[in-house]
Amino acid sequence: MGQFDSVLNNPQTRRTFLRSMAVAGGMGVLAACRKDVQSGGSNGGASAAASAIPPMSAETGELKIHEWAGYEAKWLWRNYAKAGYPEPKFSFLTNTEGAIAKTAGGFYWDLTHPEIGYIQDYYDLGAIQPWDTSLIPNFSKLNPVLQQAGQLDGEQYEIVLDWGYSGVIIRSDEVDPSINSYSYLFDDALAGRISWFDTPWLIAMAHVTLGLSSDPLDASAEDLQTAKEYCIEKTKNLHSIWVDYTQMWDDVSQGNIWAAYSWPDTYVVLKEDVPVEYIKPKEGVFTWAEGLILNSATENYHHAHAFADAWSDVTVGQRLVSTWGYGHSNLDIDLSQIDPDVVQAFGLEDPEGSLNSGILDAYQPQRANYNRAWDEVKAAAG
């Protein structure tokens, strides 16, 4: 005690003491933060969880699901609801990158719904474990091309459920559909009538339009530079870079935009009222796919599998394709019940063939480089 008093009463020593305390405190904060990040650094959790899974009856059944807004709709997991399990609690994500950051910061969910290109990030954080597909009766009916994309090290880390194209919607009264290319998005003849979406995928689209040789999603430094410069040059043709989906729909509908980066639902929404066509470019259409991943620390292992099975059901797929214009992984969908225009536009007669001929989303090891290149493009647009 006396020693402590002398420390506090001697100004020089007190300053030294306080400085030491501050440093120690700072190190504590640092250590805590690093622990948070590094705790996800290995995948030991997956095997530990798998080796000691309690039976379903021992689970609380209160699933926490981090989902896209709109995906909480009960019809998407009707069979799970009908089975009488406790209703899941949904929280919502606005982009997968934000969800990954929240997960790294300790945010907990049992299930979340990322695109296949981000499974590796969750895996690297140690946040996910492989599914036991034998607990998902509908799994055998799901598209094997998509399920292959949900695997890491030969294990099924994502049940890939919904998919769609990132193609081009065009006003067919103003633009020739037979060109059938991503070049619509860069065409000088459409100056002032083109709208891009705010995504680095535009650089990959420029890459395939130019016919560059490397992988468009993991381009060589030279090809990335060429594609970026092409985008920069073509910003002069832009009407807008859309961030608000409905604004883009309005602009296409009113004829302000003649060619826009879009997902298939734009076509489903607009085709009755406006002359539009959905273009799956000849270079190969960029295709996104997403599904459910399972937290490595979930305490609701069996409920999570039951939920994924409900989502995989053919009735869900039928309705998803008809109303949202998205693809569903279930191959038993009755196409006779779906608008023939939609079937034709999305190549649903042969979903495996359509997926194989396109450019399926994948993990982007150069994501930061693509993003910085995309920043340069947007900066040049101003």
């Binding site: 990158e97 009407h239 930061a368 995309w374 340069e376 101003g382």
Partner: protein
């Protein structure tokens, strides 16, 4: 007797000491809540962002560990420094426009409106009871290619084709941001003008000064603290602004704040985003010091 005197002296010296100690306790008590708030919600986050920017904290396995690489890339990049200057230009433009638009409003309220000034002040604030995004998006209805303004111009025959620079343009960014910030600038100017000593204006008039001369030599100089406060109220937040330019700025709506947001979200590049965010914090601090010196805030306030 000597003991009595000593006791009295001791009491005399003890009282002010107690009073001082009491004052310190009150001051400390009053300051503790805002200080804790500032430390927890400002200083600690800024410290964490700083640590991310130099790789003392990492998010993903590919992140740099203890490295100045994010700073090196940022400071050597014409693109990101260019975006910073673009944001500075926009903030300056919006701040100046807001002050110019807000001053007459504040003047009217404080010196002309009389007893109705608080009612009118409320009227100015009413639009701010609705959502920020809603107000910004409402401009689309007004300025869009098929919006109210273009419909009016076409109906009256003033133009044949819609005016495209009204929306998805730098003009739209300046207009909407100025609209958003005018009331925030008007308030401090209003307070400055309202606290003006009316006798000074009367004295100026009695000495033969015209209304205009009174304004330039008495009213405006004395209201400068409010003008400076209003200017800074707008300048600092708009420097990092990215939502409004993104919604109404079109292809040119990509600002420095957008680049920070993009690094933290689409790029999952927290270290680079942190370097840019820290640069913004430093830049704001330096610009505030420069403003303080250039505008001589203290002497204006006195």
């Amino acid at each position: 007797m000597a003991t009595g005197t000593a006791t009295a002296e001791a009491i005399e010296t003890e009282r002010p000491r107690r009073r001082r100690a009491g004052r310190w306790r009150v001051t400390g008590g009053l300051l503790s809540a805002p200080l804790v708030w500032l430390i927890v919600f400002f200083l600690v986050p800024v410290l964490l962002i700083g640590l991310y920017s130099v790789g003392a904290l990492t998010l993903l396995r590919n992140d740099y560990y203890l490295s100045m690489e994010p700073w090196r890339f940022f400071l050597s990049s014409d693109t990101y420094l260019g975006l910073f200057w673009k944001s500075v230009r926009m903030s300056l433009g919006v701040s100046i426009t807001s002050v110019l638009l807000a001053y007459p409003v504040a003047y009217l309220l404080a010196l002309i409106a009389g007893t109705r000034k608080y009612t009118l002040l409320l009227v100015i604030i009413v639009p701010f009871l609705t959502s920020y995004l809603l107000r910004v998006l409402a401009w689309r209805v007004i300025l869009g290619e098929s919006g109210v303004a273009n419909s009016f111009l076409q109906t009256t025959g003033l133009v044949d084709e819609p005016v495209t620079w009204l929306f998805n343009s730098q003009f739209a960014v300046y207009l909407v941001l100025s609209y958003v910030w005018v009331p925030f600038v008007a308030l401090p100017i209003f307070v400055s003008l309202e606290s003006l000593d009316g006798h000074l204006l009367e004295a100026s008039s009695d000495l033969g000064a015209s209304r205009m001369r009174t304004f330039w030599t008495v009213t405006l100089p004395l209201s400068l603290p409010g003008v400076v406060a209003g200017f800074i109220f707008v300048f600092i937040p708009t420097l990092g602004e990215y939502v409004t330019p993104q919604l109404v700025g079109g292809p040119g709506g990509f600002m420095f704040g957008s680049a920070i947001q993009s690094a933290f979200t689409a790029g999952l590049d927290w270290q680079f985003g942190s370097a840019m965010a820290m640069f913004l914090v430093f830049a704001v601090a330096v610009l505030l010091i420069l403003f303080g010196r250039f505008l001589n805030v203290r002497s204006v306030a006195e």
